[in-house]
């Protein structure tokens, strides 16, 4: 046996370790036999070298031997083996993307499990509470951060190829609610009003209304129409503000919603601005008219 320096020995061990999975699974080759032959070859090559053999001398020999992944022709490697090797190489090259997906799946899976346990186990069980309060959000947040980090690590997303689907789930999970929140911000109070909100509003603002009168007013198209126009007006003003901000800093949206908003530019901000202004103009007129008619209508109803 030839004596190697510690670093050279470590390099050799690593090389032999990498060789094993490349040879295993190929039915035409005896992995043990090849490993013995390769070890013997290395010893023969290093024969006569000053001991302990340095890492540079060993590297020369290993370089001539080549990468074990090239030794077996692709058509002789079984499909499952190819997939495993590709996955392993991928996971080594793109660890962030794989970990991001792993954490996201763990989040989804544990979510389902905990919900099911919660149904079966109505009593508050403290590990579940701890899990749902702290671990869930952490898993999701970490998965999102890793997905974003994976994006920043590559210059061009095309380099990720199909691997981009590893990072899309956590990103979409975060981006969709965020996008809807930003887009519909002024309308959100309406969506989150409790059932029967209109009744309490009317009673609150007009305490003299009786239930019979209320019933009559609820059915009038004026109230629904007016509310809708008010929401649309608020949204159109909000969108015009958003569009103005994005016209000044179009990169803002690209940064927030990377990679999905990579093609966003001032042109799209301009389109949003035009839509917002058109909507505003379209809604203001009918709303004013509705208000005037509505007041008249309510007064008349009350007189009955």
């Amino acid at each position: 046996m030839i004596r190697l320096t510690d670093t050279a020995q470590q390099r050799l061990d690593k090389y032999l370790q990498q060789m094993r999975p490349c040879l295993q699974g190929c039915e035409t080759v005896d992995a043990d036999e090849v490993q013995r032959d390769i070890t013997e070859h290395i010893e023969k090559e290093l024969e006569g070298s000053a001991e302990p053999v340095s890492i540079s001398q060993l590297d020369d020999v290993l370089r001539k031997l080549g990468s074990p992944s090239q030794w077996i022709p692709a058509e002789e490697v079984p499909r499952w083996k190819k997939a495993t090797l590709r996955l392993r190489a991928d996971a080594q090259n793109w660890p962030l993307a794989y970990v991001a997906l792993g954490l996201f799946l763990l989040f989804l899976f544990s979510n389902l499990i905990t919900i099911r346990w919660g149904i079966l186990w109505p009593v508050r069980f403290w590990p579940l509470v701890l899990w749902s309060r702290f671990v869930w959000p952490m898993l999701l947040l970490t998965s999102f951060c890793l997905a974003r980090a994976a994006i920043y690590k590559v210059d061009n997303l095309k380099m990720l190829g199909a691997r981009r689907w590893l990072i899309y789930p956590p990103l979409v999970f975060f981006y969709v609610p965020l996008f809807l929140f930003i887009l519909l911000l002024p309308g959100l109070p309406v969506f989150f009003r409790p059932l029967g909100w209109w009744k309490s509003t009317l009673v609150g603002t007009s305490p003299e209304f009786y239930s019979g009168t209320l019933y009559h007013i609820q059915r009038t198209p004026y109230l629904h129409g007016s509310e809708l126009f008010q929401i649309l007006i608020r949204l159109s003003i909000w969108w015009s503000v958003l569009a103005t901000v994005l016209l000044i800093w179009p990169g803002l949206l690209r940064v927030i919603f990377r990679p999905f908003a990579d093609r966003f530019d001032r042109k799209w901000a301009g389109i949003l601005f035009v839509i917002a202004i058109s909507l505003l103009i379209a809604c203001i007129g009918p709303e004013l008219s509705h208000r005037m008619q509505g007041k008249y209508f309510i007064r008349r109803s009350l007189l009955r």
Binding site: V29, D30, H41, K64, L65, Q70, P73
Partner: protein, 115 residues
């Protein structure tokens, strides 16, 4: 693009050629695995890595074209020697004939000989 094409083409060509050269290197003698590598190393571009030879030797042994026997060596530990089997001899003869036919055909085409 051109590099990739050449790379694919040379890989395919090399694969068959390497087996032919290994069998020819073993023909008529018993030879130590490491010596096969030394013999073939002189042919430029035949191997991507010298390690490629050992899985091929293992496959040829499994398919019964070569056999091995371990012999004591005065220089150190016992060595594994390769020898062609009868089946291997027959296969190699066929392969050489085939290769010669291909080679002469390609030569005549490349020299512009009319068939």
């Amino acid at each position: 693009m051109e590099y990739r094409f050449f790379d694919n083409w040379s890989t395919q060509l090399r694969k068959g050629m390497l087996e032919l050269c290994i069998l020819n290197a073993i023909r008529g003698t018993r030879i130590y695995g490491y010596d096969i590598v030394r013999k073939l190393r002189v042919i430029d571009g035949l191997m991507i890595g010298e390690g490629t030879i050992y899985p091929i030797l293992s496959r040829l042994r499994r398919e019964g074209f070569v056999r091995t026997n371990i012999e004591e060596s005065p220089e150190g530990p016992a060595r594994k020697y390769y020898r062609l089997t009868e089946r291997g001899e027959e296969m190699l003869t066929q392969m050489n004939i085939y290769w010669q036919a291909i080679k002469s055909g390609t030569d005549s085409i490349s020299k512009g000989v009319k068939i």
